[in-house]
């Protein structure tokens, strides 16, 4: 492979990772935009999502990595699995919000954040115990078709991931921009008190933000499984921190920002692994997190968090 080809290959790989981080980052941004809360539980909603996806795919008879589907059965089973995973993860997010975070809504200081850490820890350790800390193989139902473009290989799997992520993000953007509830969500983010006075049920809006964010995290979890062909109790932490970095980099509270930030982090991860060393990738990403917060806390696209006076 030539030097340029290597670079472009890493771009392609980074795009797949970035798509996953973007989906995950959106959940952080939606919740932060509305509640100004960093939701650490989100890390492991993603991880649980990966397991839910696995279970659903296995229901469809996709045991192990030997079963390969084509055409309509492939598309339908993937879509169905994705839908079930997203709904299940969304419900998990809503349950977490309703029973552990709503009571903390008006408590000052780091209390609510500490609660999300506790929830995250519970999810993490429950899965650890239930799976005996083992990594589980993920089905790989997509035929291994490669497209070659110059020296760059693009796998069918990657293309599917891009399409799924693009459609989901487009859908979310449309929801937030156009729908009645989406507008209510933006209104609450900009001025919760005024929105409440317009008759917006803030609790309902918060619930929807958690549902949407967690559903996207579930989708990201399934993408993780399909991309890496495994899932494990520990995947939430690293991916979650990267996605959070992505949300901050794009400007936390900013929906397009989360998408752009996710892609950037994906690219930075693959490219720095290629040119520096995998073992330092985390250090580079966390340094970006810290530097962004210190020098440009509003992120690249500017934070849309409400200006509280």
């Amino acid at each position: 492979m030539t030097g340029t080809a290597v670079f472009f290959q890493q771009l392609v790989n980074g795009l797949s990772l970035g798509a996953m981080y973007s989906l995950l980052a959106l959940g952080f941004t939606l919740v932060y935009g509305i509640l100004e809360l960093i939701n650490f539980a989100h890390f492991n909603v993603f991880m649980v999502g990966a397991f839910v996806g696995l279970i659903v795919l296995q229901w469809f008879g996709l045991q192990g990595q030997s079963v390969v589907l084509h055409g309509a059965p492939l598309v339908l089973s993937l879509l169905a699995a994705l839908a079930v995973t997203m709904v299940a993860s969304g419900v998990l997010g809503v349950v977490i919000e309703r029973y552990t975070l709503r009571p903390m809504r008006n408590v000052r200081g780091p209390m609510a954040m500490i609660t999300t850490i506790g929830v995250s820890y519970i999810l993490f350790n429950l899965v650890l115990l239930l799976t005996n800390a083992q990594a589980l193989n993920y089905p790989d139902p997509m035929p291994s078709i490669d497209y070659h473009l110059g020296g760059v290989t693009i796998r069918l799997k990657a293309v599917i991931i891009w399409i799924v992520a693009a459609v989901l993000m487009w859908g979310l953007n449309l929801f937030v921009r156009r729908s009645r509830l989406g507008k209510a969500m933006r209104a609450v983010a900009q001025d919760a008190e005024a929105a409440r006075m317009m008759g917006v049920e803030v609790d309902q809006v918060v619930m929807i933000a958690f549902f949407a964010g967690s559903a996207l995290a579930g989708a990201a979890g399934m993408i993780f499984g399909l991309y890496y062909n495994f899932t494990q109790y520990s995947i939430g932490y690293t991916a979650g921190l990267r996605a959070f970095t992505a949300a901050v980099l794009g400007g936390i509270g900013n929906v397009p920002g989360a998408m752009v930030g996710g892609l950037l982090i994906g690219l930075i991860e693959t490219i720095s692994s290629q040119y520096i060393a995998t073992k330092w990738a985390d250090v580079i990403i966390f340094s970006i997190l810290i530097l962004t917060l210190v020098f440009r806390p509003a992120g690249l696209l500017g934070a849309q968090s409400p200006n509280r006076s």
Partner: protein, 660 residues
């Protein structure tokens, strides 16, 4: 636990002495090596918890990378007392060898250096090293809002173990440091016996406990809590908030660094995974369980968590497996509850946050109910002592500074496209009361905020006693002799009346962390004096505040909160007092009473700038009145003149008022 608070200090001392005696004799109670080891580990946990309690509990900064400082302290000792580094021997090492910090291994050209820095030196040194890392890391990040800070610390907590894993030449990577030397005391080399480590650990905990208990009610501890309660108000009361946060962060890091050295000396090995995120979370669970900001709670939480892991879970696993054997359930037979400890941590965090946010040992606050006599006691004024002291302060300031004149020239403030103040000029002559009036939204509070450094004006000059105030931080403005109150009252809600007013004296007290810990006579005297002054200040308000001195301010009435805020501002011995609607929320009698008091402040020499809505208060008090409207000065003059000014009446009272 509430009962403990009811014990007299003497009883509490006796209880503590008894407890200490038991702890000292613990290894001789025949509890076995394994349990002494548990006790030693409890000490390490308790030391960690005490450090994090300063950061999270006292100062309200959520630190999720605390284990990083534990790691730094551990590796500092581990690297300097093991075979990990072995540079070639040269004569330059000889002086270090002479004092026993290094040893020469081998001979001739192949000779290498063996680091043998003594444990007792490294214990404090690690505290310093970790604290330096804490400051280097904290300096750029502590400006961030609390929740951002949490995530930055999380990133830092992640980076340190990764560096330890990857920098093999220094740390031996994932395999970890081996053969870390044990402590040596008077020729006695600690071995694998847990007892001596237990005593070192106990000593460490007692030291850190002592430091925490001394700091908490000191000038420094109060300032930390002020930052936690309301950072803006803390700054306005003279607390250099960034520096105080940095101090808390560094001190927490120092505690962790020391503990790291102790822990590694006991274990004689260090691997990167001993310092991963779960450790930071575990320490957080300890202080949440014990009660944030509760010193004894932190220790209790640490001990409970160690016991949970060392005793309770293995025992429970045994019982469950026994049960499984009895009923032939393979699931129960294989259940390993010891690996469920982190699950339990998570459950503890969520449960405590939802149902018992104050922890097992809540920070005691006397919620005294007043007797009827106290409530009904006649308002008697005992202003004289406070006045004497305030006057002395003014005289002192007057000798080395120019007159207390506030001069504002062409002050312009813009928020985005909106101009909140347009080229305002005004003077507050020394010893006078100037009132600023105007409708809501006319720029009065913006004027206050730009004088006190909370808002950055785009142009203009603000000068007090010849000194330029613009560009100063709020705490520097206070030190320049300008104190203020806020329109919507910003007291420190979870602190008592006494503590709130003491924080007002922050800039006049000098006790540092070291002085407070050592309990120097100077510091004790200063603290006694400060408390006396609070009593005197409160006595200015008769019996309204004195009986409530140990109550949390959240329980006070609106009018009393305003009074506490004024007392807090006076506590800083200002030359210029700025009051933002001091009578808002007071009834006529109370307003009148306060107006008289404000007049008295001027009479003993204070300069006063007043924002007020009630014209009769203004008429009664002000030597000069400035009317703002839409950020512009509409009129200026004596109260009676202004009240008759048609433009003013129109802007302020509305059209038609003139004919009414």
């Amino acid at each position: 636990m509430k009962r403990l608070a009811l014990l007299s200090p003497r009883q509490r001392q006796a209880l503590f002495a008894a407890l200490l005696m038991v702890l000292l004799l613990l290894p001789f109670l025949g509890i076995g090596q394994a349990n002494i080891d548990v006790a030693a580990n409890s000490c390490a946990y308790a030391a960690l918890a005490l450090g994090l309690n300063i950061v999270v509990g006292f100062t309200g900064l959520l630190d999720l990378g605390y284990a990083a400082f534990f790691a730094i302290g551990a590796y500092a000792y581990g690297i300097l007392n093991s075979f990990q580094l072995h540079p070639h021997w040269s004569a330059a090492w000889a002086p270090l060898a002479a004092i026993g910090f290094v040893a020469k291994l081998g001979a001739g050209a192949a000779a290498t250096v063996h680091f043998t820095f003594p444990f007792w030196l490294m214990l404090p040194a690690s505290a310093v090293i970790a604290a330096c890392f804490g400051m280097a890391f904290g300096a750029p990040t502590l400006r961030l809002k609390g929740d951002y800070l949490a995530i930055v610390t999380l990133g830092f907590g992640e980076i340190v173990p990764i560096v330890a894993r990857n920098w093999s030449s220094l740390t031996n990577g994932a395999e970890g440091l081996n053969g870390v030397g044990p402590p040596v005391l008077l020729g006695y080399r600690f071995g694998i016996n847990a007892t001596p480590y237990y005593y070192v650990g106990l000593g460490l905990v007692l030291l850190l406990l002592f430091i925490s208990l001394r700091l908490k009610p000191s000038r420094i501890g109060r300032a930390w809590m002020a930052v936690r309660e309301d950072e803006i108000a803390a700054g306005a009361m003279g607390v250099h908030t960034t520096r105080l946060k940095l101090l808390a962060f560094a001190m927490g890091a120092g505690f962790a660094g020391m503990t790291g050295t102790f822990y590694i000396a006991k274990l004689q090995t260090a691997t990167p995974d001993m310092f991963d995120l779960p450790v930071s979370i575990m320490v957080l669970v300890m202080i949440v369980l014990g009660g944030l900001a509760s010193v004894w709670g932190a220790i209790l939480g640490a001990v409970l968590l160690e016991l949970l892991q060392a005793w309770f879970l293995p025992a429970l696993s045994g019982w469950v497996q026994g049960l499984g054997n009895a009923i032939h359930s393979p699931f129960l037979q294989n259940l390993q509850l010891t690996s469920a400890s982190e699950l339990i941590f998570g459950i503890i965090l969520v449960t405590m946050m939802l149902y018992r946010r104050d922890g097992l040992v809540p920070v005691g606050r006397n919620e005294v109910r007043l007797s009827y006599e106290q409530q009904d006691a006649a308002v008697s004024r005992g202003a004289a002592p406070a006045v004497a002291r305030l006057r002395a302060g003014l005289a002192e300031a007057a000798t080395d500074a120019r007159p207390a004149v506030l001069e504002i020239r062409d002050l312009t403030v813009k928020f985005g496209g909106l101009t909140a103040l347009k080229s305002i000029s005004l003077d507050v002559p020394a010893g006078s009361i100037v009132a600023v009036i105007g409708p809501n939204g006319s720029g009065k509070s913006t004027l206050f905020n730009s004088i006190t450094g909370l808002v950055k004006p785009s142009a203009g000059v603000v000068r007090f006693a010849g000194r330029d105030l613009l560009g100063l931080r709020p705490d520097q403005v206070l030190r320049a002799g300008v104190a203020r109150t806020f329109q919507n009252i910003r007291l420190f809600p979870n602190l008592t009346v006494m503590e709130n007013v003491l924080i007002g004296q922050h800039s006049h007290l000098s006790a540092g962390a070291a002085g407070a810990v050592l309990g120097l006579p100077r510091v004790r005297a200063e603290e006694r004096e400060a408390r006396q002054f609070v009593l005197e200040l409160l006595a200015m308000f008769g019996n309204r505040l004195v009986p409530r001195i140990d109550q949390g301010v959240a329980q006070l009435s609106y009018a009393n909160r305003r009074r506490v805020e004024i007392a807090r501002a006076l506590a800083s011995r200002p030359r210029l007092l700025m009051l933002d609607e001091p009578t808002a929320g007071m009834n006529p009698a109370e307003s009148l009473e306060l107006a008289e008091q404000i007049a008295a402040f001027r009479d003993f020499g204070l300069t006063i700038l007043l924002v007020e809505h009630k014209l009769d208060v203004v008429t009664r008090l002000a030597d000069n009145v400035i009317v703002l409207d839409h950020g512009e000065k509409l009129a200026e003059g004596r109260a009676e003149e202004v009240r008759r000014n048609e433009a003013v009446i129109e802007a302020y009272i509305g059209r038609g008022a003139v004919d009414a």
